[in-house]
Structure formats: C-alpha cells, structure tokens
Symmetry: C2
Subunit: 317 residues, 2 copies
C-alpha cells in the first residue's frame, strides 16, 4: 500500500530538487548527495524518480532540416493545414514515443490562449501519452470534452480517460462521455445518444475549437479488439469489408470511406465531419498504423497530423 500522500509529496519535492540539481545545475549525483545530505544511491534514485515521473521534461529545440522538409511535403501532398514530423527511434515500439511530446506542446499552445477554447480529445495511447506530458497549468476558462465513450465493455468507467487527466492538469471543467463505446444495437445507440446530458456533450464536442485524435489500425491485433470493444468476428467482418483503419471506433477503407453496417452503426462516439472542416489533429506513427494513417488522410478525416520521420517517409512513397 502507498504511504500517506504527504510523504509522497515531500518525496516528489526531493526528487524535483535532485532532478534540478542534476539536469539544470549540472551536478553529479555525488554532489547532490552531499548537498541534500543523503547517500549517493538515494540521490540516484531521486533523479531516476524525477525523470520517471516526468517532473523533469526534456524538450528538443532545434529544427531538424529533414523533419521540416518531410512535414512540408506531407502538408502539400495531403492538403493539410498543419503537420509536424518528429524523429524516429527505430528500436522502440512505444507507439507514442516522440509524437506525444510534440502533441503535448501543441496542446499547451492552445491552452495558453486567454480566450476560452473547447478542446476535444479521443482516446488511445498517443493521446494519453500527450496529455501526460502537458505541464500543470491553471486555465479554468477552457473546456475539455471527450469524443468517445469512456465506459469499458464490462461497464467500468475508465479513470485514466485522457479527459480526466487533462482536466486535472490544466484545472479546466471536463465533459466526459459516460457511455459504452459500442451499443448492443442500433436502437440502443440511438437511445443512449438521445439522452439530454449526453446529447449536450456531443454537441459541445462537435463545436470544439480543436480536436486531437488517435488513428487506429485494423490489423489482427488492434486495441479495439484487445481492449474488448469488438469481437474477433466483428473485426474479421470489418476487415472483409475492406477496413483499413478507424477513428473514434469508426472503421473506414483505404480510401477513407466509412464502412457501412457492422459495428460502425452501433458506435456512440461523436460523428466527425468528413471532410474535416475544423481543426482536427491526428496523432499516430509506426509501421502498424501506416495503412490506417494513409487511409485517414485520403478520407480527409484530419486537417493536421503529428507523426514521425519513418512514417512520414513511408506516407510519401
């Protein structure tokens, strides 16, 4: 069990202090140990804790020519308003590595605005990774709204919903969508979405000033399946219908056209305009998602893309 929170807090304080001395003041862990009057090992542990808990953030502030060029070409080729390309670590399989940091910086930019905005968020590891990177801020003027249900198939609410996290981070009111992602029938979907509070959130989400969404793959192990939102049979039938990817649970083919029927009819998530007519930023990278991203761009589901070097190069081939 965890000790009391006070203890945790002061330990994090110590970690922050150690991390500061290490990264900003450039001390060795030995020096930190002396200054904080702890053992060298403890100093090491505090520094590790500070990085693990992301108390210390690293930011790369240099325009890498190759990435700039790729971003420009992607924007041009796919008619995007916005594109950001970050580096690739070929050996990492973290689907959010790099792009999460960039997406977080972009989100932060919006939050810094004085005029109130509404930000809509999807789910997925990329969006989740991004909200984790946003620094603590105080902006009660903004609102954050979910684009997709937060109830797991077993009915449990997802406490780690990006909306919950970001709302706590920036101290803004949240509007989660407390509904199952996929209803058991079309009729049920209609009933759920017709409920006044739900309806209101959906309306809010549809009028959001900016949206960040993941783009999901529909190969044999998509999160949709492994998280239990759809069955193996449903996946197979989406694939058979030409499913290339999904956004907010809605599957589309390689041209980016919605697949009709199947689970698509029972999805409760917010319907995005196609082609996108307001800022919708897709956050995705990696070989697994290449086909899905390409299809999403073809279908003009997004107006912006945050991806990595490898994916950008592949998209341009």
């Amino acid at each position: 069990m965890a000790r009391n929170t006070d203890n945790d807090r002061s330990r994090l304080d110590d970690a922050a202090r150690a991390g500061w001395l290490y990264f900003i003041a450039g001390n060795s862990q030995d020096e930190i140990a002396k200054k904080m009057d702890i053992s060298r090992q403890s100093a090491q542990r505090l520094v590790a804790l500070a990085t693990r808990e992301k108390l210390v953030k690293f930011k790369l502030d240099h325009p890498i020519a190759r990435c700039m060029e790729l971003a420009l070409r992607i924007k041009d080729r796919y008619g995007l308003d916005y594109c950001e390309v970050t580096l690739t670590d070929p050996s990492s399989d973290d689907p959010a590595l790099g792009i999460a940091e960039v997406a977080a910086a972009e989100m932060e930019k919006y939050f810094k605005s004085d005029t109130p905005i509404v930000m809509a968020l999807g789910t997925g590891r990329e969006v989740r990774g991004a909200v984790d990177q946003v620094p603590k801020m105080y902006c009660p003027q903004h609102r954050v709204v979910s684009l997709i249900g937060s109830l797991a198939p077993d009915g449990s609410a997802n406490i780690n919903d990006p909306i919950t996290v970001i709302s706590d981070t920036i101290h803004a009111p949240r509007h989660p969508l407390a509904v199952p992602v996929i209803a058991s029938s079309i009729a049920e979907r209609d009933i759920i979405c017709a409920q006044i509070p739900i309806r209101r959130n959906i309306d809010l989400a549809q009028s959001a000033d900016i949206a960040f969404i993941g783009i999901g793959e529909l190969n044999d192990t998509p999160p949709l399946l492994t998280d239990g939102f759809i069955t193996w049979k449903e996946l197979k039938s989406l694939q058979a219908a030409g499913g290339a990817g999904e956004i907010l649970g809605r599957a589309f083919n390689d041209k980016g056209e919605l697949i009709s029927g199947e689970t698509n009819d029972r999805i409760t998530s917010v319907t995005l305009p196609q082609p996108a007519n307001r800022p919708i930023i897709g956050v995705a990278r990696g070989p697994d998602k290449l086909r899905a991203i390409s299809a999403a761009l073809a279908g003009r589901w997004v107006t912006g893309l945050i991806t990595d070097e490898w994916t950008a190069e592949a998209l341009l081939r």
Copy 2:
C-alpha cells in the same frame, strides 16, 4: 577557421538527433552510435554538443512547496504582483543559474500572446541568460526594445546585446538603444537623448507592456566597474553616497532612493517610474546582490521578482 555553415548546420542536426535519442528516447550512447552509424565517442560528443548548445532544454515541472511558500511571502512582504522562486545550487557561482530558465519561461508566456506586445529589456548576465533560453518562435507582431545603451565605453557596439539575440530568436523587430551608457557630461547626455530616433526608442521603452531588468550590486567589483562603464573613483563616490545597488546604471541607496549627482546624472538609460506603475520584473539572485535586491524592493523599482531560494530566504530575514 570555421568550416562552412552548411557543415555546422548538419552537425547541429546530428547533435539534435543524438540528443533526442538520448534524452527523449532514452537510448544509451552505444545504441545511438549504432543507429547513427558513428563511433561511441562521436555519439558522446554529439550529445554533449546538443546540451552545450542548448538544443535540448530541461524543464522542471513540479511545484516545490518550499519555493512556492517563499514566493508567496516575498510577494506579501514587498507588495509585489509577481514573484517566482527557484532552487539554489549552493556551490555554483553562476549568477543566472536557475533564474534564467524561469525568466525565459515567463518571457515565452508573453511572446505566446496573439495581441502585439512591447517587451523592454535591460542588460546583465541574468537577462542575457534568460534570452538565451527562449526557444525559437515566430512572433513578428511583438516588439523588443532596449532600456539601456548598447555602446561599450570604447564605442564598440555590443553584438550580444539581449535585444539583438531575442529579436533573432522570436523574429520580432528590435529597437536597440545605440548610445553610450554614460555620457561624459550632463549636457552631452541631454543632447544624445534628444535625438529623434533615440527619443522615439525611449518613448517606446517607457510604454512597454513588460520589462525584464537585472539588479546590479555596488560592492567593490560590480559589472559596471569591471566592464569599464564607471571608474574606480566614481564607484567609490557612489559607495560613499550610500550606494546599495543599481538598476539600468542608476545607483540607489538602501532605501531605494536615487543617489543624486555622480554618474547618475549622466546615464542615458530609460528612466523607470518610481514606484513602478507597470510590470517590471527584476531578475537577480545571490549573496553579492542581496543588498541591492533588498534596496530595489524597498524603493519599489519592480513589480515582480525572479530569484532563488537562498536569496528569498535572506530577503525575508
């Protein structure tokens, strides 16, 4: 001699790439070496270059209870609108360590504004350190203006003037004050300051939305002396008149009252309102400056202060 710039650029690109793989992707230098197909030592050098050139920025994102509390008490005690307290590295003698990063973040906040602002800057290592930390941005809507002359005693223009640097960093028009810091006589000062272009800049600076200034000490080795702006004799006479510190070259006593006569009459720098009636942030820390900071606060020369834990504690004693 330096090789061509293209070479430098691509080396910095490589450095950024290595730094990214190291700090963000968490690779070891060995792994980086393999991925970039260079030797381990080269990888190490690139990572070092990336940190040295500040391509990778470290940011601490955790409210350290002690610093928050000190900031609150300073604000309260000295009637400031704004105060930020950062950590202290007792063994470092860098006068800007820590506070430069905080000041840079604060500047960035202003620059992120869409509505055009005018930012006025003083000189000194703290302000210089801060502008060095501001990331590249594109904000031609803002203007930056100097509060103090940029001509050294020998008549040479200071290419490393904070105004020049920040103007390049954020791509905003600059308004330097191309005059000697101290004129040789009161009459000369008046003539210099009456020139139309100079006059215009001074007016602009006086209407700035925000100003960041250093606070200088008047002990036996102040930068004013070592940089040759004033003579040993002038320093002694300022000290004899009770000089406790200086802002923009103007000396004041422990109560923060301007010393009359002496070099103060020949200073060409912009006159700040006393007490300050618009946002003026002082950036200073350290035992050497304690007396000067205390005097500046007493005289209400600033509405905000960025300092460190040690100085904050000392100011509250």
